[in-house]
């Protein structure tokens, strides 16, 4: 087979693949499109058949209704809890994961096994004791009640441990010989080397906390302390759903996640590929 024919066949294959991928991306993007445009439609139009594919007379009434209902406060609460949990989880997981990966001490394997076992526990199992504990600390119905239980996330420690194992021992020894303290080694050697892992963990934690509807539902009660998904849920009646408001709320709720994803995207993809072959 001549190389020109092979090249032609390849370009046809590429074109077909491109068409297929474009169609696939439409399938994935369409729900987002529908939710975003639905937020600008009147309730009657959101359930109309044939559907109105694009809001002909866009309205901001759904957003007005949302913000009349303290959606701004709910959004801030969601952002605050997710960001704080993200920072704290990274802050705890990095040293813990590093120590478990690189330090030799008695019970190390046991501790790691306990973390792995904790990952298998469904949240529902620990919920009631957790509520009692948080309540005894006086944190129930505060944002801390959602943030603090997220901090010792076993998955975060597991992830960073796997990344830390890729750090060559020689570098750490060299740092020690040069007189680096443990903290300095952690901050100046370990952290830069596991940056992709931290990026991936940051995204996972942010999304996980943002979407942890169940924990937020159980821990938060006051209207001023609700997160965005919880607040939007209170606007639903038993057999009546205002899809316009719901879609406006979903759009608002998706925005911060998209922003965080784009900011950490580079680390995220690096993190996934590195984590898949190392450790």
């Amino acid at each position: 087979m001549s190389s020109s024919r092979r090249g032609k066949r390849r370009s046809t294959g590429d074109a077909l693949a491109m068409v297929f991928l474009c169609l696939l991306s439409v399938v994935f993007i369409f729900p987002f499109y529908w939710v975003i445009t639905g937020g600008f439609k009147d309730q009657r139009l959101t359930i109309q058949l044939p559907p109105q594919w694009f809001p002909v007379k866009p309205t901001l009434s759904n957003y007005v209704r949302l913000f009349d209902n303290s959606a701004g406060v709910w959004l801030l609460n969601s952002v605050f809890t997710s960001l704080t949990a993200m920072l704290l989880v990274c802050g705890v997981s990095v040293p813990a994961g590093y120590v478990l990966a690189k330090k030799r001490f008695h019970g190390r394997s046991m501790i790691f096994a306990m973390f792995v076992a904790a990952m298998a526990l469904p949240k529902q199992v620990i919920l009631v004791p957790l509520v009692r504990l948080v309540s005894s600390w006086g944190f129930h119905n505060t944002l801390a009640a959602v943030i603090l239980p997220a901090v010792g996330w076993p998955f975060g420690i597991f992830l960073i441990k796997q990344f830390s194992q890729t750090i060559p021992g020689e570098i750490l020894e060299a740092a020690k010989i040069d007189g680096c303290s443990e903290l300095r080694t952690l901050m100046h050697i370990v952290v830069p080397m596991v940056k992709p892992g931290i990026g991936a963990l940051a995204i996972f934690t942010f999304i996980n906390t943002w979407n942890d509807y169940f924990m937020q539902l159980i821990m938060l009660n006051s209207r001023s302390r609700l997160t965005l998904p919880l607040g939007v849920a209170t606007m639903q009646q038993e057999f009546a759903t205002n899809y316009g408001v719901l879609m406006a709320g979903a759009t608002l709720a998706a925005l911060p996640i998209l922003i965080v994803f784009f900011v950490f995207q580079q680390y995220f993809t690096q993190g996934i590929t590195m984590g898949s072959v190392k450790g």
């Binding site: 009631v128 509520v131 009692r132 159980i218 209207r223 606007m235 038993e238 057999f239 009546a240």
Partner: protein, 427 residues
């Protein structure tokens, strides 16, 4: 001198204790938390706004009782309540319906409201079904405020457009027979309009499907004393077979993939001619979501006398072990339900009907509401407080799915359901 001072101090202490004990309820100092499902219609589209105005009025009378209102939603609220009870973070007052409240009462987490069920109140309610729905044994756990029947609703504009409105009873109590209903279904099909969705993907709105099928041939879901399920009698089987056949004939729609909300949304979007679950409260909520006039009717029955399921809204007090808070919670409930101004106002805010007959007709001049208020005489025994009610519900929709798919005959599906449901009573 020391002794005199001590005696004086003791006297002052005793006197103040006596004064405190004699202090009117208006001086009671407490902080209570009230969790409310969105049972009241929203004001300005803001859930909880009506509740805030109640609290403001309540505080004018009881300035030392601080009330925190927290709204919960129907989808996740029940789970939240159960976890809060187990986790020790339950509210003091809950506005819900007897199904769940009586379950909490049976589990011993509620304070009894026996002192609120005065002879005057029971006489004023004058409805044994409603009173019985509020108690477990001899203890009352729910204080009812309002009630409303569950009905069907048709798209009046659609019927008018096709000249079929005369086939639906529109006068008096609008009661009708199954054969009249069948005639209307056939006429709608001839005009290429779709019948109601008999939804059964989940428990959502399942009271509608049970009432619909039980009424078609005058079966009953339970016996009159509400001790066992009886919908598998020959009339109940005829009712389910009627629905199976109607689905096959294209008169009704198989709702194995729909829940109550979805089916009602289809009705509101005018994609089906009617819904087998509707209520006055829903009509008020859906008003701004529909482009047509819905018209409600009781379920059709063979003899033309329906047995209606109904909603009862009411309050319970969770026993958090603080007598002061329980007392304050009862005062709040009493104010919401019985205050001469706020009692009727709160009933209207649910768009349902008062359980107190002394409130009279709160919807004077509104023909639809007057018609609906007259339906209380068709109320069937209230079975939502039966033991194992929640477990029974998990057996109902699979029974319908099995019958609709042909996996089981109507008789087998109902026999299996009744067996499972009766077992749930014993558990």
């Amino acid at each position: 001198m020391k002794r005199v001072v001590t005696i004086l101090l003791m006297t002052v202490l005793l006197l103040s204790a006596h004064v405190a004990a004699q202090a009117p309820a208006t001086q009671l100092k407490a902080e209570v938390t009230w969790w409310s499902f969105p049972n009241f219609l929203t004001v300005d589209g803001i859930p909880g706004k009506h509740e805030q105005s109640i609290i403001k009025a309540f505080n004018a009378k009881y300035p030392n009782i601080k009330v925190n209102i927290e709204m919960i939603d129907f989808a996740s609220g029940p789970e939240k309540i159960v976890t809060a009870i187990q986790g020790g973070t339950a509210p003091d007052v809950l506005f819900d319906a007897p199904g769940r409240i009586i379950d909490y009462g049976k589990n011993g987490v509620l304070a009894n409201l026996n002192d609120m069920f005065t002879a005057e109140f029971i006489k004023d309610v004058n409805n044994k079904n409603v009173i019985d729905a509020c108690k477990v044994g001899s203890n009352f756990y729910m204080y009812p405020i309002s009630t409303a029947p569950f009905l069907m609703a048709f798209n009046k504009d659609m019927l008018q457009k096709h000249g079929l409105l005369h086939m639906l009873p529109t006068e008096g109590d609008r009661t009708w027979t199954t054969s009249q209903y069948t005639a209307l279904l056939k006429a709608l099909k001839a005009k290429n309009e779709r019948g109601a969705i008999v939804f059964c993907i989940s428990q959502g709105g399942d009271q509608g499907t049970r009432a619909f099928m039980a009424n078609l041939f005058n079966s009953s879901i339970t016996d009159a004393a509400v001790t066992k399920y009886t919908i598998n009698d020959s009339n109940g089987v005829k009712g389910l077979q009627y629905v199976v056949d109607a689905i096959k004939d294209g008169l009704l729609l198989n709702g194995s993939a729909s829940d109550g909300t979805g089916a009602i949304d289809e009705f509101c979007a005018q994609r089906v001619s009617h819904t087998i679950l509707f209520s006055p409260g829903l009509q008020a909520v859906k008003q701004h979501m529909t482009n047509f006039e819905p018209i409600m009717a009781p379920y059709p029955s063979e003899n033309g006398t329906p047995a209606l399921e109904y909603l009862i809204d009411g309050f319970c007090v969770l026993n958090n072990g603080d007598a002061n808070r329980i007392k304050a919670a009862k005062l709040l409930i009493d104010f919401i339900c019985n205050d001469p101004v706020w009692g009727p106002k709160n009933v209207v805010a649910t768009n349902t009907f008062p359980v107190r007959s002394s409130f009279g007709n709160l919807y004077k001049g509104d023909g639809t509401m007057t018609f609906l208020a007259g339906l209380t005489k068709y109320y069937a025994p209230y079975y939502n407080t039966i033991n194992g009610f929640a477990a029974m519900r998990t057996a109902w929709f699979p029974a319908l799915q099995a019958a609709f798919s042909g996996e089981k005959t109507a008789k087998k599906a109902l026999d299996d359901f009744v067996k499972a449901a009766n077992e749930s009573i014993k558990r």
